[in-house]
């Protein structure tokens, strides 16, 4: 199916203007004064760890949750006062698939289409078109219980596109998907923007924001801690980092001097693991470095070049890591490993 160009409201440049949004759950200030401005026709990424307030922010912008303070406008319409207008301008794909488990894919799309005002025949055609577009035609009649995570997400996204809304919220669209499905999802999101839609997505992965977003807001503990283009954000962190491990502990000081000399940067040392870490701007220099290390007779046990992780971005921007979440992730990883072993 070809996307028709979407309704483009005549409201100036801003798809989203949020000012000082606050949402408090009990003692927890989940969102604590978030400002966001999203230009129409762009992909905007909200990056942050679990519990940073991403989902709560999206839910307020999508009229699902009332802000406790602050205001937000979607294409110039207030989310609290003109919520029914806002709902006509947005599509929401939640973190957990918001489709009907007990019905088939076709039935789901037909019901949503009918609710959006399409006639019986129109709804049927729309459902068939969208299912084909998202590669779900074969599974159309099967109950959703047998759908994989990726299929569910695709159906969910398809449901958000029925009315071809000018603004689409995607809450962690690829969390839990395998790499191939993730790449498919990215392609779909890119295509959406070509048709003129604005996309506001949240993600935990810097990589994903990097791949998709024009601008990024980094959010932590309910605050926006950094905002800018992908390049601006990356420059503050360094493009990639070099990790070196030496065979003999005694060589580590010479190795470190060599690294600093060749790369012309400050390096850090983790003594217990005998690991040297250094930011690296130019990948070509690694050849020089390796030759130089060989000449000095230093044996390496491990060498790798890594992209900055969300951890490092956080460390740089906030001065603290994603401690709490990291322990959580470790627990999750352990659990997953246990599950695999069992």
């Amino acid at each position: 199916m070809e996307y028709k160009s979407v309704k483009r409201p005549n409201n100036g440049d801003w798809a989203v203007e949020a000012n000082g949004l606050v949402k408090v759950f009990g003692d927890n200030r989940a969102v604590d004064g978030v400002d966001l401005n999203v230009k129409a026709g762009s992909i905007y990424g909200v990056l942050g760890p679990n519990g940073a307030g991403k989902t709560t922010t999206i839910r307020m912008l999508a009229t699902l949750l009332r802000p406790d303070a602050g205001s937000a406008r979607i294409f110039g319409h207030d989310v609290s006062k003109e919520s029914q207008i806002v709902r006509q301008l947005i599509g929401v794909t939640g973190q957990y698939a918001s489709v009907d488990e007990s019905l088939s894919a076709t039935e789901n799309l037909i019901i949503f289409s009918r609710l959006l005002g399409l006639g019986r025949a129109e709804a049927k055609k729309k459902a068939a078109d969208l299912l084909e577009e998202f590669g779900l035609t074969e599974a159309a009649k099967r109950p959703l219980k047998n759908f994989s995570g990726g299929m569910r997400r695709r159906l969910d996204l398809a449901a958000s596109l029925i009315a071809q809304p000018p603004l689409i919220f995607l809450d962690e669209p690829t969390t839990g998907l395998d790499p191939r499905t993730r790449a498919q999802m990215w392609d779909t999101i890119r295509r959406l923007v070509k048709t003129g839609s604005t996309v506001l997505l949240t993600t935990q992965y810097l990589d994903e924001a990097d791949q998709l977003a024009d601008r990024i807001a980094v959010i932590d503990r309910g605050h926006v801690v950094a905002e800018g283009t992908v390049d601006e954000l990356k420059q503050s962190v360094g493009t990639s980092s070099l990790h070196l491990r030496v065979e003999n502990q005694s060589d580590i000081e010479i190795a470190r001097q060599t690294v600093e000399h060749v790369l012309q940067v400050q390096s850090t040392l983790t003594s217990e693991a005998a690991k040297i870490t250094a930011p690296m701007a130019n990948a070509d220099l690694i050849t020089d470095l390796l030759i130089s290390l060989r000449e000095k007779g230093i044996t390496l046990s491990e060498v790798s070049v890594q992209k900055p992780t969300l951890d490092e971005v956080f460390l740089t921007i906030t001065g603290h890591g994603v401690e709490d979440e990291k322990t959580n992730d470790t627990v999750k990883e352990t659990k997953r490993a246990e599950a695999v072993n069992a």
């Binding site: 409201n11 294409f75 029914q84 207008i85 709902r87 301008l89 918001s98 019905l103």
Partner: protein, 267 residues
């Protein structure tokens, strides 16, 4: 191709016709769900059969001398009791349904806020219809021949379905405000059990103590039971019918708005 649409065309309220359409679509969803999981119809098929058999043969001789002359008393009574009990399930299922992600989508769609609730309640009238038809059928098999004739039996059936639909707004309200489905079941039974038994549904009230008679006489369930008896047994419409309809309207007038408000506040 650029179909430029000004947002000035968009309206911030939903018209009555749209509200009706949205509710009917949601009712269609409810019917599809029933078709997908027919096992959820067990209670409305088995309960009328078992209860009608059980109560008629247990109480028949004691109350009316023999089973045959008890049938005109018990069939309307059991009908009202069974169908209204069925409406509790509406609240329970609504609670389960609302915990699913799909309600997030309904909330984010530009549809009437009442539609997801009204649609679910409307679809459940199918359950009431099944229970009603089965109760009358059981009665017929056991020898019940309503003197009012088929037309008035149908009218009585419609009255019971309408009253149950109105009552289901009460349980829908419990469904929206409770945290779990089982608590909806518990609190609803607590309300309904005394209400159906402290009525004239199974036994005439004249053997009861005075204070209980007083309650039985003002109990809305008694009015519905009496109205059904008048319709089926003598083919007449009396004040009980009027009271039943007034009561039903009052329940909807009170509970529909507060249920919708609670639904919108809960996120």
């Amino acid at each position: 191709m650029n179909t430029s649409v000004k947002t000035g065309h968009l309206k911030n309220h939903t018209s009555f016709i749209q509200t009706l359409r949205h509710s009917l679509t949601m009712a269609y969803r409810g019917i599809l769900k029933i078709r997908r999981t027919p096992e959820q119809l067990f209670d409305v098929t088995l309960q009328p059969i078992i209860f009608t058999l059980m109560f008629t043969y247990i109480f028949g001789g004691a109350i009316s001398g023999d089973v045959q002359s008890y049938l005109p008393v018990i069939i309307p009574g059991i009908l009202v009791q069974t169908v209204i009990t069925t409406s509790i399930v509406t609240g329970v299922q609504l609670r389960e349904d609302m915990d699913k992600g799909v309600f997030d989508r309904f909330k984010s769609l530009p549809i009437a806020r009442i539609a997801p609730l009204a649609g679910a309640l409307l679809a459940d009238t199918i359950r009431y219809t099944i229970a009603t038809v089965l109760t009358f059928t059981m009665g017929y098999i056991m020898g019940y021949r309503p003197e009012g004739g088929l037309g008035f039996v149908v009218l009585a059936a419609l009255l019971v379905i309408l009253v149950s639909w109105s009552m289901s707004w009460i349980f829908a309200f419990f469904g929206v405000i409770s945290r779990t489905a089982s608590s909806v079941q518990g609190i609803s039974m607590l309300v309904l059990f005394p209400l159906t038994f402290m009525s004239n549904a199974f036994v005439p009230s004249d053997t009861m103590p005075k204070w209980l008679q007083w309650f039985v006489d003002i109990n809305p369930i008694s009015h519905v039971v009496s109205a059904v008896r008048e319709l089926t047994n003598s083919g007449s419409v009396g004040t009980d019918m009027v009271w039943s309809l007034v009561g039903a309207a009052a329940i909807v007038a009170v509970f529909a708005p507060i249920t919708v408000r609670a639904y919108m506040r809960r996120t």
